[in-house]
C-alpha cells in the first residue's frame, strides 16, 4: 500500500497517525497548544471505522489512568497533553512504568513553570528524561523535529513501548504541534488481534491469573524488580539510540539540539558555514536513550559544544555527562515561550564562543 501525502499540523499528524497505527484508544483533556489532537479525533470519529475508542476525560489525571486501564488489557492506547497536564499525569506515569505497561504519551510542551505561557518551550526535558514521577524509572523519549516525525514517532513509540513493555513519550513543543508541513502517512494498519500474555482479559482455566500492579511489600523482591528494570533500560540504551548528524565531519564547533531548536540550528549551520565557520549539528532523536557514545566520540574532534535549547539549560547536563570533560560545553537558549532564531544562535556562537 502506498503512503499518502498530506499537509498537516503536527498535532493533526499525531491524531491521524494514531488511527492509522491501529491504536485501540485515546484519552485526553483539552489544553493549548495540543487541543487539535482531540478535536481531530472527534471529527474523524475512528470508533465508526477502525473501532478505536476516543474519550474526552474530565482531567489529565483521569486520562492517564484510563491509559493505565487500557494498557493493562494489552491494548494500544495513548494520551496527549501539554506541560501542566503532563505534570498531573506524573502519578499515573510512574504507576504505568512500575507495572511495566506499554503506552504512548505525547507532550506538546509550553513554557513554565506553573501555568506559564502557551507558547513553545523545551523546559520539560528533565521531567521527561530523568523521571518526572517518583521512583527509579525511565520513559523512552522521542523528540520529533518535523511534522513527518510527529506522525512517524506514533508508530515507532508504540513499537518500542510494546517491545520493552515500557511507556514511551513523544517530547514535542508548541511550534511543531501548530505548524503545518508535508507529511507522508503510512497506510491504515489493522488493530492488533494478538493479546500479550500478561494482559488482563479474563482468566481462562488454561493460565494463571494475570495481575497488573506496581506494589511489592517485600523489599528484596522489589530490589530484584528494580534490577530487572535497570537491565531493560541498559538494553534500550544499547539498541535504541537514534540521532541525526549535519556537517559534523569537519566541524570545529558542534551544536547539540533537538526538536524545534534543532530545526533552528540547521539554518544556523548554513548561515555560519556561509561565513566560513566550521560548525555542525548533532540532533538527538531519542532523548532517552541519549546518544552519549556518539557525542563522546565527537568530543575528540570538535573544540566546543553548544547545547541549544528553549530552556534554562536542561539537556546540557546530558551533553556534559557524555563528553565527560573532554571539551567545554556551553548553553544557549531562550525561555518563556520564545523560540530562538537562526541568526541569534550564530551571533551567540561568534560573540560568546569564538570571540569570547
Amino acid at each position: 500500500m502506498e503512503k499518502e501525502l498530506r499537509l498537516m499540523k503536527g498535532n493533526e499528524a499525531v491524531a491521524e497517525a494514531a488511527i492509522r497505527a491501529g491504536a485501540d484508544g485515546y484519552f485526553g483533556y483539552p489544553i493549548t497548544p495540543q487541543s487539535e489532537i482531540l478535536e481531530y479525533l472527534m471529527e474523524a470519529s475512528p470508533w465508526k471505522t477502525t473501532g478505536m475508542v476516543v474519550l474526552q476525560a474530565e482531567s489529565e489525571i483521569a486520562a492517564i489512568n484510563m491509559v493505565y486501564g487500557g494498557a493493562a488489557c494489552g491494548k494500544k492506547v495513548l494520551t496527549t497533553s501539554s506541560s501542566p497536564g503532563i505534570s498531573l499525569k506524573q502519578e499515573g506515569i510512574t504507576y504505568i512504568a512500575g507495572a511495566e505497561l506499554p503506552c504512548l504519551i505525547v507532550n506538546v510542551v509550553r513554557g513554565g513553570p506553573g501555568l506559564g505561557t502557551i507558547q513553545p518551550a523545551q523546559s520539560d526535558y528533565f521531567q521527561a528524561v530523568k523521571g518526572g514521577g517518583h521512583g527509579d524509572y525511565h520513559l523512552i523519549v522521542l523528540a520529533p523535529a518535523s511534522v513527518q516525525e510527529m506522525a512517524d514517532f506514533v508508530g515507532l513509540g508504540f513499537d518500542l513501548a510494546f517491545k520493552y513493555r515500557n511507556p514511551a513519550m513523544i517530547l514535542s513543543d508548541g511550534a511543531i504541534g501548530q505548524m503545518m508541513e508535508k507529511v507522508w502517512l503510512s497506510p491504515q494498519q489493522e488493530r492488533s488481534k494478538s493479546v500479550p500474555a500478561w494482559a488482563t482479559t479474563g482468566k481462562p482455566s488454561t493460565r494463571k491469573r494475570n495481575i497488573i500492579t506496581s506494589l511489592d511489600l517485600d523489599p528484596n523482591a522489589q530490589e530484584v524488580f528494580n534490577q530487572k528494570l535497570i537491565a531493560k533500560y541498559n538494553e534500550i540504551k544499547e539498541k535504541e539510540v537514534r540521532y541525526e548528524e549535519l556537517r559534523c565531519d569537519d566541524a570545529e564547533y558542534l551544536f547539540v539540539a533537538y526538536g524545534t531548536s534543532a530545526r533552528v540550528c540547521m539554518k544556523s549551520v548554513q548561515l555560519a558555514r556561509a561565513q566560513g565557520i566550521k560548525v555542525g549539528l548533532l540532533r538527538p532523536i531519542t532523548l532517552y536513550p541519549y546518544p552519549s557514545k556518539r557525542l563522546n566520540q565527537l568530543a575528540d574532534r570538535v573544540k566546543v559544544m553548544i547545547s541549544v535549547e528553549m530552556s534554562a539549560g536542561q539537556m546540557i547536563e546530558d551533553v556534559l555527562l557524555s563528553v565527560n570533560g573532554k571539551v567545554p560545553v556551553h548553553h544557549f537558549g531562550r525561555m518563556g515561550g520564545i523560540v530562538t532564531n537562526p541568526e541569534e544562535v550564530v551571533e551567540n556562537l561568534k560573540s560568546k564562543i569564538i570571540g569570547g
Binding site: 499537509l7 502557551i118 508541513e181 508535508k182 530545526r263 539554518k267 532564531n341 537562526p342
Partner: protein, 180 residues
C-alpha cells in the same frame, strides 16, 4: 529556490488561511513547505501572523527572523515587520488604515489595495485572495493552476462553489498590485 514569507495583519483578515493556500499551492507544485502560525488568545481580534516557507530543498528552520517577502495588512504589523524584510527583498502592503507608510529604501515596495477592491467587488471575504494575487504577480513562484489546486485542497468541499469568485479575486490582485 527558497522563498521565505511573512504574512501579518489582524485576526479575521484571513492571514492564516492565505498562508495555508500558499502552502497547499507549494505542495501541488511538488515543493517543500512549512506554515508556522502565531497562536493563542491573541487571535481574538488581535494581530495574527504566519511564516510560510516554500522551497525546492528540505526546509531547515520554520522559524526565522528575516524574510524575502513581507505581506503586511495593518499598521501594527507594518511597524513590527518592516525591518524584518531582507535587504533587496519585497514588501507588499494594503494601504487601507495605514497612517505611516513603509519607508525603507533598500527593498522594493508594492501596494495592493485589496480591502478597497474587495469592497468594490462586494465580497469582503475575498480580500486575502486579492492580496495573494498581488504576491503572485510580484513573485511568480507558483503556477496559477497549482494555486487553484491548492485552493481546492484547503477549502472544504462544501465551499467549492466559491472557487470561481476566489479565482476572480486572484486575477484582480494580479491587475491592481503596483510598485510604489
Amino acid at each position: 529556490m527558497t522563498e521565505e514569507i511573512i504574512i501579518a495583519g489582524f485576526g479575521g483578515q484571513g492571514v492564516l488561511s492565505m498562508g495555508k493556500i500558499m502552502a497547499y499551492s507549494g505542495v501541488m507544485q511538488d515543493m517543500e513547505v512549512s506554515w508556522m502560525p502565531s497562536y493563542g488568545p491573541e487571535m481574538r481580534g488581535g494581530t495574527a501572523n504566519v511564516i510560510v516557507i516554500i522551497s525546492s530543498e528540505r526546509i531547515s528552520s520554520p522559524i526565522i527572523k528575516h524574510f524575502d517577502t513581507g505581506i503586511i495588512l495593518n499598521q501594527q504589523s507594518l511597524d513590527k515587520f518592516e525591518s524584518s524584510v531582507k535587504p533587496g527583498g519585497v514588501l507588499i502592503y494594503d494601504s487601507n488604515g495605514i497612517t505611516r507608510h513603509p519607508e525603507r529604501k533598500d527593498i522594493t515596495i508594492y501596494r495592493v489595495d485589496a480591502a478597497e477592491e474587495a469592497g468594490k467587488m462586494n465580497s469582503p471575504k475575498t480580500f486575502n485572495m486579492i492580496v495573494l494575487g498581488g504576491f503572485l504577480k510580484v513573485k511568480p513562484i507558483i503556477k496559477m493552476e497549482n494555486v487553484i489546486k491548492g485552493l481546492k485542497k484547503s477549502l472544504p468541499e462544501r465551499y467549492h462553489n466559491l472557487i470561481p469568485m476566489n479565482e476572480k479575486a486572484l486575477q484582480k490582485g494580479l491587475e491592481i498590485v503596483k510598485k510604489v
